[in-house]
Every structure is written in C-alpha cells, then in structure tokens.
C-alpha cells in the first residue's frame, strides 16, 4: 500500500508533538495512532490536515482510516477549536444538581457552546465526578515548548509537570464547579487536586477492603503504599505461582465489577491455559457509565494497588505486557497512574525481573479519547490498536483472540483491585462474604439527592436501604433510584430492601451494573432525565449496527413526542413503537450498549415516572 497524503503542510508544533510519541524513525505502529492524535490535540488544540497527514506518514496509516478514527472520538476535533475547552457535564448525575445552571452561566460568560477562539465550553456526557456535581473537565492544550520540564520523548504518554489536578497535556477536572472557577481555569489559573476524603465518606473506617488505603496512603509515594501492606499480594502470588493464583480467583468466585459480572477465574484460566506464547492483560479503566465514579477514586487515591493487581494478574495468566486504558476525561487518575507505574518500575516491581522473581511484566498506559463505547471490551481493544472503537463480533472471545489477535484477559479496575485481597487471604475467605455468585465486597457510587454522596464499600448482600443509611439515610421524598447506570434501570422506594447481589437485583428486574445508585426525589423532572438518557445512547452508539444506530434515534424521537404530548396515533401506539424498538435493540444489537440502550427508558415508563402510568 502506498500512502497518498494530502499536500497540506504540518507546523513545527504539530511535528514536534507527533515526534514526541513516535520517536525518530517512522514506524508502522497503528497502535500509536491515538497517542499521536492526543499529542497533537494537547499541543495545538485541534487536528489539522497537515497534522493528520504527518501522523499518517510517520505511522504508515491510510489517511482516510486515520480520519475515521479521529472523527470517532469526542475529545478530538478535526476542525479549528479553541485550544482551551471546558466540557460541562449536563448528564443525569449533574444536570439537575447544578449542571444545567452551570451551562446557562457558561453561555452567559463565554457565549454559545463552541464559540470563542481562545477559550470555549461545550456540553459533555457524565464525567464521573457525580459525588461533587456539577462537574467540568478542562481540555487545555499547551505547546510542548511552553510546558515546564522536559518531556520524555520515547513514551506514549509523558509525565506532566503540572500539579496533581492536571494530567498530561495540562488537562484538569473541577468539581463542584462554578462558572467563575471554570473561566479562571480556562485563562490559566491552577486547579486544586482531588480530595479523596470528600469522595469516600467511609475513608479511614476499619472494616474496608477495597477502600482501605483511600485517603490513608499518599498516592504518590510507594513507601507509603508498602507501609500499608502494599506489594504483600504480589509477593505471595510470586511465592505460590501462577496456577495457584488462578485457582484462588476461581474459588473466590470473583465476578467482573464493570457491569457484565462475568466470572473472572474463567477468563484467567482460559488465557493461562492457552498455548499461544503471546498473551495480553488489559485493564479497562474507561469508566464512563453515567453515574459511575468508583474506579476513578481508586485510581486517584490508591494507584499502586491497581498497578500491583495488574502485575499479579499479568504474571498469573502469562502476559508480559498489561495495557491500562484510562478514560480520557480522568486526568488526575492518569497522572497518579503514570507516577505509580514509573515508581514501580524504578523499584523493580515492574520490568524484566519483577521483585527478583525472574518474571517479566510491564504496564503501558493509554488514554481514551471520549467514547463511552470503548468501555465495551472489544471496542476498547480496537481503540488500543488505533482503530475506531467499534465492538467486534463474539465469538471469538477475547480469551481466544483479543488484543492484537492474541489471548487476552480484560478486567475492570475494581475487579483487579479485589485480586490483591484474594491473593492475600485466599479464595475461600473472599467467597465467605456475600452469597451465591455474589462474593466479596462491592463499591457503590451514591449521588443525587443523598446527604453524603460518594463511593461506598459494602459486603455483597447489603440491602439498598442499608447502603442509603450509610450515606446519611433514605433521602426524604425519594421518588426513584437509577440503579446500575444509564444501562441499568429505575427502582422505587418500596424496593429498598433488595439485597445488593447479582441474584437479588435480578429478582426485581434490575441490575447491579457498575454500582450506580443515583437518587431522585419527587421534584425531579423525569421527562428531562429520560430524554438525557435517550440522547446519551444516541450520541454514544458507535453506529456500526442498524438496531442501535437508528433505534437510539427513534427511541429519543418517540420519547420527545410522548413528553411533549405530541404522540402519533396516541399513547398506546407510541408505547408499542418504543417496545418494538426496545426489542430489536435488545435482541439484535452487536454489543451491550445497544442491548441495554432501552433498559432505563423501559423501566421508567413501566413505573409511570413519565407522563402517567402505562
């Protein structure tokens, strides 16, 4: 294949940014496409024709395909845009809790969304800061020449010289945000770093497992982590050997905490037993289910735990490289992880002789670029490979043909952090907490009208009511709870005694999902909430399959007619239409996004949260 490149020239700044990722000789590394596009965005603020051509030339990627990738991700822009952009969350966890007011204030201060040459603002889906609504993510381009320190040109992601709130490229988060603070930050003011104690009201409590170090250890200090018991798990894992570790995970009955609840031991055993010499571990840290922020808190406040857990997992399944795919809107988490990986590598906890064991394992960090669908495991792998984040057909499953076509274990952040406890205490001890398939403790993300929003850790089987008590009590005038996320469903105050297990939630037609517990009282405009959820799926559908691509559009349109009282053929006809669209999306979509895109809408209509009872 000969590349045909557009004649447009690239600028010095664009070339410097790309060279910082690709290195000196051009190399056919499609997997560096996202890092290269990020580098251009971070330096210049948008991807010009010349910049894209230069990226294509260096990585030997056809420009049409690179353009297809660049236009897939919301954090990339192929048209000129202000280099400093505030993404203001107007999703279900923020909109009614200051998000819409903030959007109005931003419009007043900076003009309509997208306007402005130097600074601008835009609406955003959930930014994973729901416990501190309203949330803002700042995408702040800074030319490399203006950054302090010297970036390490050989790394896909360079460490940022900025303070803790800023990730590479100088991006930052503000929550709770005011228009004043956002505008000041857009104009260069420093942003304070995250405070883990605010996000985890239980911090420091004695009975915590997953959150035991959150708010207690210094996330930037390996010694602090080790003093709190860090790396005892990896030491034990190396002592007992990979086969025993996989056994313990299986005995523990650990299930995936990202939402699909697949048995972790089954994945690990399949990859560990594969005869393929090349295998991969992937950590799915692309947390973007609306209302979810548990993985963010773990990564920001206890990053070494994730790095250690990945090392245990990688060595157990025979992978030499673990890819850590962090959500693009999580700069503080990314910064903490970059530092943790560096520290771990420097002290021999990563590399070609992990803790003197002679075993090789290292972690490569990659940044997402604004696509909810990339939380789907096969879409994430395509994204890592430098492709559009379109889910793949299964089978083959990732354990057979995953990243780069090789057997791959892909686990969520919380799932992996559980591994440390299982290795330390043994599978049976872990399995003794909870019941059935639901073992161990679980993180829940409480937000909305609760007294003390934040991440809470409780044993599987705790009831929803008990969980709410921890967060300050059942909210007065509670009307409905969105359980499990936008892909989950609404439950009502008469269902608060449901045990929070896979089985218990299924019994009431709900799901644990990613642990979202988003509370609404009776003042809530549920029509607006539902339209936001429908709009979310319409925006985040990758577009690959017809049921989801067109179905999410028709669902949003039909909902609009219903809430506006403009039904075609009457309410019954419209509800039938919605059910028909729901069924084809649920039955025939390629992936979980389409298969759950009607879930919350279906439950809200059944509960009569919108337009009276059906």
């Amino acid at each position: 294949m000969d590349l045909v490149l557009l004649p447009d020239a690239s600028t010095d700044a664009e070339r410097a940014a790309v060279d910082g990722v690709v290195g000196a000789p051009a190399q056919p590394r499609r997997d560096l496409l996202l890092p290269a596009l990020h580098a251009v965005m971070d330096a210049v603020g948008w991807i010009s024709r010349g910049a894209l051509s230069y990226v294509c030339d260096r990585l030997h990627v056809p420009p049409a395909e690179a353009y297809g990738v660049a236009t897939f991700y919301a954090l990339f822009s192929v048209t000129p845009r202000a280099p400093r952009t505030a993404h203001v969350c107007d999703d279900v966890g923020c909109a009614a809790f200051g998000g819409e007011d903030l959007c109005a204030a931003m419009e007043e201060r900076l003009g309509p969304a997208g306007s402005g040459d130097e600074v601008t603002w835009t609406r955003s889906p959930c930014l994973g800061l729901c416990e501190r609504a309203p949330a803002v993510f700042l995408q702040l381009a800074t030319p490399p020449s203006e950054r302090e320190g010297s970036p390490d040109a050989t790394r896909a992601l360079e460490s940022s010289p900025h303070d803790d709130a800023h990730g590479p490229g100088g991006h930052a988060q503000i929550a709770p945000a005011t228009a004043d603070a956002v505008v000041r930050a857009l104009h260069g003011d420093d942003v304070p770093g995250p405070d883990p104690v605010v996000s985890t009201p239980q911090a420091g409590a004695p009975d915590l497992e997953l959150l035991s170090r959150v708010g207690v250890v210094d996330p930037g200090d390996l010694d602090s982590y080790r003093a709190a018991g860090g790396y005892a798990g990896l030491r034990r894992a190396l002592a007992v050997g990979p086969a025993r570790v996989v056994d313990e995970i299986t005995v523990a009955s650990l299930t995936g905490r990202g939402g699909a609840a697949f048995p972790t031991g089954t994945k690990w055993a399949a990859v560990a037993g594969s005869p393929e010499p090349e295998k991969y571990l992937v950590c799915n840290a692309d947390e973007s289910e609306p209302g979810t922020f548990k993985d963010r808190v773990l990564m920001e406040a206890d990053p070494f735990a994730l790095v250690e857990a990945m090392t245990v997992a990688g060595i157990a399944v025979g992978a030499r490289t673990g890819y850590l795919y962090v959500r693009g809107e999580y700069p503080a988490a990314e910064r903490a992880l970059v530092r943790a990986v560096d520290e771990a590598r420097r002290h021999g906890f990563l590399g070609d002789d992990v803790m003197g064991s002679g075993r090789t394992f290292d972690v490569e960090l990659r940044r997402g670029a604004g696509a909810y669908i990339c939380g789907e495991e096969t879409a994430l792998m395509n994204s890592l490979e430098g492709r559009r984040g379109e889910p793949r057909a299964k089978p083959p499953f990732p354990t057979v043909a995953g990243l780069f076509g090789k057997p791959t274990v892909i686990n969520n952040v919380e799932t992996l952090v559980n591994v440390l406890r299982i290795v330390a205490e043994g599978g049976p001890a872990f399995a003794s907490v909870g019941s059935g398939r639901s073992t161990g403790t679980k993180l829940f993300c409480l937000s909305g009208v609760v007294a003390r929003p934040g991440v809470y850790e409780v044993p599987m089987g705790t009831t929803l009511r008990e969980l709410l008590e921890l967060a300050g009590g059942v909210p007065p005038d509670l009307r409905a709870i969105l359980l499990g996320g936008a892909a989950g469903s609404f439950v009502t105050p008469d269902q608060l005694d449901v045990p929070l297990t896979l089985e218990g939630t299924r019994e009431i037609g709900a799901t644990l999902g990613s642990g979202v517990v988003l509370c609404f009282d009776s003042s809530t405009d549920f029509a607006a909430v539902l339209r936001r959820i429908a709009g979310f799926f319409r925006d985040e559908s990758c577009g690959q399959c017809v049921p989801c691509r067109v179905g999410t559009v028709r669902q949003e349109e039909a909902l609009a007619r219903i809430v506006r009282g403009r039904e075609i053929g009457g309410r019954t006809v419209e509800l039938q239409l919605l059910r028909d669209v729901d069924r084809v999306m649920t039955d025939a979509s390629i992936c979980g996004l389409g298969q759950t895109a009607a879930s919350a809408v279906r439950s809200a209509l059944a509960l009569g949260l919108v337009g009276g009872s059906s």
Partner: protein
Amino acid sequence: MTVVDLGTIRRLVSVTVDDVEHRVPEGATIMDVLDDAGADTPRLCQAPNLTPVNACRVCVVEVEGSRPLVPSCARKVEDGMVVRTDTERVAHSRKMVLELLASANDLSEAGDDVARWQIEYGADPERYGPPGPPAAAGERGNRHPGHHGLPDGETRATVAQPVTVDNDLYVRDYARCILCYKCVEACGTDAQNTFAIAVAGRGFDATISTEFAVPLPDSACVYCGNCIGVCPTGALKSVAEHERREAGTWDPEGETVTSTICSFCGVGCTLELHVQDNTIVNVTSPHDHAVTHGHLCIKGRFGFQHVQNVAPPGEH
C-alpha cells in the same frame, strides 16, 4: 505428474435448523446452511466475496444458548448447534432492521429482494413520523461525535443529502447509504488495498468518507469501481447510470448482459457488459469468478468507451 488440489479436508458437523438436521462442513456459516436448504434469508451487508462485518443484523437467527440473536452471515456452525429461524423474535428483529433502515434511507434502488422483504416482514417506516429536511451538502460529515440537537420528534431524522458528483466515473448518493461497510472493505483489505474511504464520524452521524471529506480526485482512489460493484443500495453508481436515471432513460428491464474477457492485459478477467439501448452502461464481473472474485480495475470497469466510439451514420 499432475497435482490435484484436494483443498482443506473438513469434517462434517451436525446442525439442527428449525428441527431439521443438516450435516455440513466445519467452517461453514449458518447462512451457508440456510442457503443450501433453500431458505430466503434477508441480507444487506453480506457478500460472498467479502469478509462478513455482521453490521446490518437483518440475517439474525436464534441460536440455542445465546441470549441475543446471532448474525447467520458471520457465525460459523458448531457441532450440535440448534438454530431457529421461524420464531416471532427472529421475524420481529428482521422486520425492525428493514423498517429502521427504510425510515432513515432511500431504499428505492436497493433491488427487488429488499422490496420483497420489506413487504414480507411488514416494515412500516412511516410510523416514525414524516421525514425531516435533508442535510445540506457536506453537513452530515461535519457533525461532532457525542453531540446532537435535541429532537422534538415532529419529524424523523434521515440521512437525506445531495448526491456527491466530484469525478467523471462515479457518484456517491449517501442518502441511500446504509453503512454496510462493503465499499470500505472492497477499497481495503478485501480487494483493492487502496484505503481511500473509511467510516468517519459516529453513531447515526457516521458517514463513508475520504480524509477530511476531500473530493475523490484528491484522495487515494484509483477508480477501480469495486465499491460500486459491492454497493447494495445504489448509493455508489457509475456516472453513466446516474445520468440515465436522472434523465428517466434508465431501463433495467431492457438491459442485456454479455460476457467477455477483458483485453487490456493478460490476467483474463471475465467481464459482464450491461447494455441498454445498444450502449454499455456498466461493467461487472461475477463474484464467483476464480480470477476476479467480482472485483475489477479501472480499465476493465470503465475502459469501454472505445468500443462504442462508432461514428454516426454518414460520418467517418
């Protein structure tokens, strides 16, 4: 000594479709089984000469043990697999895929099969309201992923937009494009390895595009026309066909097809000359032809003008 290629020896596996057992070679797809059994399985993104992308989902079937329906074009059979095509779930999803596509796209040139399936499955695209206004030229390609205007539901969104004519050989009528990925595959690894076009954008706003939507002459396009050859809906067609359709002189009923061998080089591609009103209007190649697999180059597909440079009567 003559070497006889026996091909790969494949064992037979047993598959049950609608209670009837079939013995088929391992590696076959469910669709292969259905086709052999004479079933009329709808398909849009599937083509015998392309890798399945299973994007359209119109060929779905039920497979025991799988909660979601399964695309028959891509799923390979397994021994003991139990397949059902005769259920209400299957019929519903097929109907809805056809209906959703018809609600967003112009399927008037998608062929007789699609028209028949629309009727057989009972697709009713009009129930989503009247179609919204068409997009201005180029507008759909400039939408930012993750953002769209709040709809009021009064009209249904469609992909309607003007036809793109930016070269002498073929047009791109994306109001008809159902994003089946066939053209992208034919332009890429499945045939031409040119990679001039790809899917750009996201979700409902995804389009088939060159880089920055530049005109085809500025792209890597080599005008092999293999994208036209695989397009199922008339979104990609030759300028000759487009102009005749616009002029109202397109006459598929009066078309004859003549097979010949391309004389431009020594490869020996079989050509099928599609002739209307004593004029060649299109050139194709059979997808099961051992040399072409249905794909041609610019000369074979478009290099026919000299054949019909016949001087009008009375001139030399």
